[in-house]
Symmetry: C2
Subunit: 709 residues, 2 copies
């Protein structure tokens, strides 16, 4: 769209020169005009007679509003009259408003009274823009009044927003139905309303000094959308930008850090129980094949490896230095790393921002920037990269190779990841601690894992995003290729408070996280178990080719709960075509129920499961299967599990791959069967109808976001 | 309250005699007057002049409305004029309305035009009453307009409702804040509005023929609440009441069924794989000590037990008969049970209502009623009562005694209960299959378990409630003594459809279930795992003595997620008093954080956990503890688990018992530690921050509902 940017530039420069931050109504209108944001006809009267004349020209009823740089809250000042019907009333209204304004603030500078065409009808909505500490410019949309104020029914997108983003906002509020016309009202013009949102988003993107913008109300009708009132506030002292290297720089540095040829351990120790000792042992016992270089002021050798007094004494190149020294020694050692041109430092030590030592953290950040050393941490457990057999951490070693890359802001959550992975036999490519995120953060990891062939899914726990905008931009790109799952801790007020005292995280407005993560194609986990179950299950499932989900169950009761779970997880139960219904019925007893769920009933032999699942996999109209198993003597758990895997493999030999998950109801033997199914590509859970469906739902959410459905 | 019931009786009798179902507006007003429901001043004019006179008397603006038994939708007919300002306007309005009515329906009988004082200001709300198939009379409350229509922001209670029920409705809607005054508005008079709700609920309770009632809108102001419009619809052919025995009758019969001295197995068999064989084996191998009486037309002996051709041939009394014969033979055998005066029949066979055979089910219901035989099922797996060593089922035997009584409408879910119980080492008192619920249902079980000393918690899976009102009444009483947990399947439209095809269940309006279950003190589980985890964890925890919850964690990251989970589960994180804060700080490193969560930091020795947990248990201001453990070399998992149990037991010796749950983050060894903690009274979960808090939340929900907090 062609905007008159020069006009806005000129206007904002004038506001700045005037040392003002708020725009007047006529200035707001000028800005709207420059960006093609429809506003009512209007003019400013400087006399009562002129007000009458303007009202005459506009025809219908008008609104009168005081224009004064000294009066921001016009209604409060008695500076607004609505529904002024005749030109005569406008003349009288002018005088009333001036009298009110003088009473409110005797010395207020009065420019005049704005006469504005009065809008009405349609649906009143609010379009606005805000500046978030992490995500920067966001555009907001909601219905007016109680819905926004009391129910907080509002939705956000990163600015600039596309027309599709904007259209998704219209469906993104609880009261979305209101825009489709209720009580016989006409539906609003969606394209016009979305276009207005896009224009607002581009305006605030083009002019970052606009810190807040409110169009309230906007009248959205079947014909168009017109902003009745505009409020614009500027901030001419924008915050410092967080340093962001280029994608190529990130990839180069991260590849050396994650797949190093030589690792230095600063503070390596021979003494059991020391962190520097644990790190050394994990590197050695983890089977790392590169060079291990202990650094110690006095030792000549540690655990059989030649030790150096400084990284600068090491003859060859070093790719990454793991720090296991007290906080106060970090800065000095980091300078040496810089001088040695080591691209990455893994800062295990705590005692920085999380304890209030912001200066200390700033100091190491500055050193990192000066020497171009990327910093992981501080206040972390380190990291694992299994495909390099690398355990650069003081925690338990972990070496089960797989395709899930996980990270956590917190050490405790990192340990939970390791425990769950080992328990569930979940292979991982990497587990990374990010702690205070003085430098390396979630988007650096995304950028690395995006091009890492060993990684197929990325799951991240975070308490905040230091640069939400950078994260969202990278996530949007990466999630098109690989599923990105995020557990955002500090969702609630109590959680945010705890996060702030834990890592100094600013947990932010959760609704913004919710909307922007969705806009970026990120799968949001609601709980730690969800994060872990999704990380385990999502890469196991093939990508669905369509939305049609069918439940095949031996337990009717499971079928009901699985159906509930489908709705909860936004999965579509296929409406069963008559011929397919008949085909299923051939395999099941007459008192079973076809339809969807296909209820094969509980007492059936293995062949019934086999025939129905085979049909489900082979019919091209069905895209995914959810299986409900009921433990019986006739079809014991392992018999069921093995035959499902057999059918699956038979179909795969014919080139048919569909997502399939299973819920197993039965005695403890179903646990072994679930494990067997999982190991063979069917995420399966004992005693749960909700988790397998949630895993399938996560896969669908990703596929939709990536545009694959 | 004193109501003029005679007036309403007379009026409704007249409506019935007129063969009408809808009341006119003046009739509606009379009903309101009789029950003290405030309505505006009004009168009916039969001439334009009279309309003018009435308007004159009322003073302010009026509303004019057509009065005609033939015009129900008055607005549609052009039969309503609002905001009629002067008596002159009322005169003109009368004529307009009459003209419109004639145009709408030429032959409509016109009684006149109602002139009504026009209300305004305050908050518009809706109060109504509906008749639900399962719950009977319900009173409903919501704000008007979009909130009810689009957002379905409405809340229900069983009628009659108490003043407290009604007050809870005012807080039970999403937009509750609106009633407290927003945008400078005055808060509504809560007592007056609640009183109006109570009156409506008592009206529909007193007169069951009132099937629908709507007061819409009701103007709720700071002074009072006045119904501007009333709509009442009657149904003079109410549905048949479901048979309900007295509480004493239920207890007597259920005690014989659940703790029988003699069990007959109708269709007992020596042949492996037959249901009658499985039932016999389970009775024998389960260790049942009473008489086992196989019934078989030909056999003399089955599995070493003397067999009889009919129950009537058995010399002594029989307490319960387990049916393992085809559906078509059930009725005949049931008559024999009746003649033998057996109080209970366990009907395993399927082939009744769930397959569309409603006649067959009606037949056995009638036999049951005729002979006073209580029926469990049909279409069930049977039941277990462990304290009698009784496995009256064809499923796997289960004999781990404990205090949780579980039931399921579905066999598959029953098997999941058994598997989970065995896997989690959860002792149960009973597991019962209810299937088609032709007779015995959830409230019979509640009534039995209420007085069963072996049972401390009752957890039920259901797809519908055949008599929701009876259930709610019993649950309200029982939940005061023992926690009642319900997983209602068929929550969603897809789930309800599946339930209907599964057991013919009418899943009903889920919002009604939600509200009425809450009103009855029931803990609602949202998933199968929740049902199982709550059944396991809730009886383990002592009853909290207050709302103050404190998190003590070694993992700051867990602290954040645990805080989020507290908000999700409606738990109150205690605001830490300064002296207590200081007391905690004494035990933790300077960089740890007191406050709440108490973050003791990750590298601490066992003494730090010990000291802080001891302080948490001993300070009387703290009522519950949530522990977050982080696996380290310094405090390994089992060391942590044992010391927590030690501290707990030490405190118990001093008479201090507080609920305590734990979230364990670490390598796989935390699973053993969690198990140990659970077995010693601390519900603990590995790799999850949300489940332990949900379990504590369930305990709190129960304690609040039971009036213990």
């Amino acid at each position: 769209m062609a905007y008159d940017k020069a006009a806005v530039r000129q206007l904002l420069d004038r506001v700045r020169a005037d040392k003002r931050t708020a725009l007047t109504a006529p200035e707001g209108k000028l800005v709207c005009d420059a960006y093609g944001i429809p506003v009512p006809q209007e003019g400013v009267a400087t006399s009562a007679a002129e007000a009458g004349k303007l009202a005459q020209q506009m025809g219908g009823p008008v609104v009168l509003k005081i224009v004064s740089p000294d009066i921001l809250h016009k209604t409060e000042a008695g500076g607004v009259l609505v529904g002024v019907k005749t030109p005569d009333d406008a003349v009288k209204g002018y005088d009333t408003i001036l009298a009110n304004a003088k009473k409110y603030k005797a010395d207020a500078k009065i420019v005049g009274v704005q006469v504005q065409q009065m809008l009405g009808g349609g649906q009143e909505v609010i379009v606005g823009a805000v500046t978030d500490g992490s995500f920067g410019k966001l555009v907001a949309f909601g219905l007016g009044g109680v819905l926004v104020e009391v129910l907080k029914d509002i939705t956000f997108r990163l600015a600039p927003a596309t027309q599709n983003d904007a259209l998704s906002m219209l469906d993104g509020i609880q009261a979305a139905e209101m825009l489709k016309g209720v009580r016989g009202g006409e539906p609003v013009n969606r394209e016009a309303l979305a276009s207005l949102i896009v224009r607002v988003s581009e305006l605030v993107n083009d002019f970052p000094e606009i810190s807040e913008l409110d169009l309230n109300p906007v009248f959205a009708t079947a014909k168009g959308a017109t902003a009745a009132d505009v409020r614009i506030v500027c901030d001419f002292e924008p915050k410092e930008q967080r340093y962001r290297p280029s994608q190529q720089e990130i990839v180069t540095a991260m590849n050396r850090i994650m797949k190093p040829k030589a690792v230095a351990v600063i503070g390596a120790s021979s003494e059991d129980g020391k962190i520097g000792n644990s790190v050394m042992k994990n590197l050695i016992n983890g089977g790392y094949k590169g060079q291990i270089l202990p650094i110690h002021p006095k030792a000549d050798e540690i655990l059989g490896y030649k030790a150096y007094k400084s990284v600068k004494d090491v003859p060859g190149e070093i790719d990454v230095a793991v720090f296991a020294i007290p906080a106060k020694l970090v800065a000095g050692a980091l300078v040496e790393c810089g001088e040695k041109k080591i691209p990455g430092a893994v800062l295990i030590p705590s005692g920085f921002a999380e304890t209030g030592n912001h200066e200390g953290q700033k100091e190491i950040q500055d050193i990192g920037r000066k020497y171009n050393v990327r910093l992981m941490g501080p206040n972390i457990y380190g990291f694992y990269y299994t495909h390099s057999n690398l355990c650069a951490t003081f925690c338990t070693a972990y070496d089960v190779k797989g395709s899930a890359a996980l990270s956590s802001q917190s050490g405790g959550i990192g340990m939970a990841i390791i425990g769950f992975s080992r328990s569930a036999k979940m292979g991982v490519s990497a587990i990374v601690g990010l702690g205070n995120k003085s430098d390396i953060d979630e988007d650096d990891l995304l950028t690395f894992f995006e091009q890492d062939d060993n990684t197929q899914v990325i799951a991240q726990h975070c308490e905040d995003l230091k640069d939400g905008r950078a994260f969202a931009e990278v996530a949007k790109r990466v999630s098109k290729k690989k599923p990105v799952i995020v557990l955002k801790a500090g969702r609630t007020s109590a959680g945010a408070k705890a996060a702030s005292s834990h890592t100094g995280a600013l947990a932010g407005n959760d609704k913004i996280y919710e909307d922007v993560l969705a806009q970026s194609g990120v799968i949001r986990a609601r709980s730690l178990r969800d994060l872990l179950d999704f990380a385990r299950g999502v890469p196991v499932l093939p990508t669905p080719q369509g939305e049609n989900v069918v439940i095949i169950t031996g337990a009717g009761g499971s079928g009901v709960l699985l159906s509930d779970a489908c709705v909860d997880n936004n999965l579509k139960l296929m409406a069963m075509p008559a011929d397919l219904d008949a085909a299923f019925r051939k395999f099941i007893p007459p008192f079973g129920a076809a339809g969807n769920p296909v209820d094969i009933t509980g007492g059936e032999p293995p062949t019934t499961y086999k025939n129905t699942v085979k049909l489900g996999l082979s019919d091209p109209r069905i895209h995914s299967l959810i299986l409900g198993y009921w433990h019986t003597i006739i079809t014991p758990p392992m018999v069921f599990a093995k035959l499902i895997v057999e059918v699956k493999q038979e179909m795969e030999a014919q080139g048919i791959r569909k997502p399939m998950v299973a819920s197993l109801a039965g005695d403890v033997q179903v646990e072994e069967a679930a494990e067997y199914l999982y190991q063979h590509g069917v995420p399966a859970y004992a005693y749960s109808t909700e988790i397998p469906v949630a895993v399938l739902g996560a896969k669908y959410k990703w596929a939709r976001g990536a545009g694959l459905l």
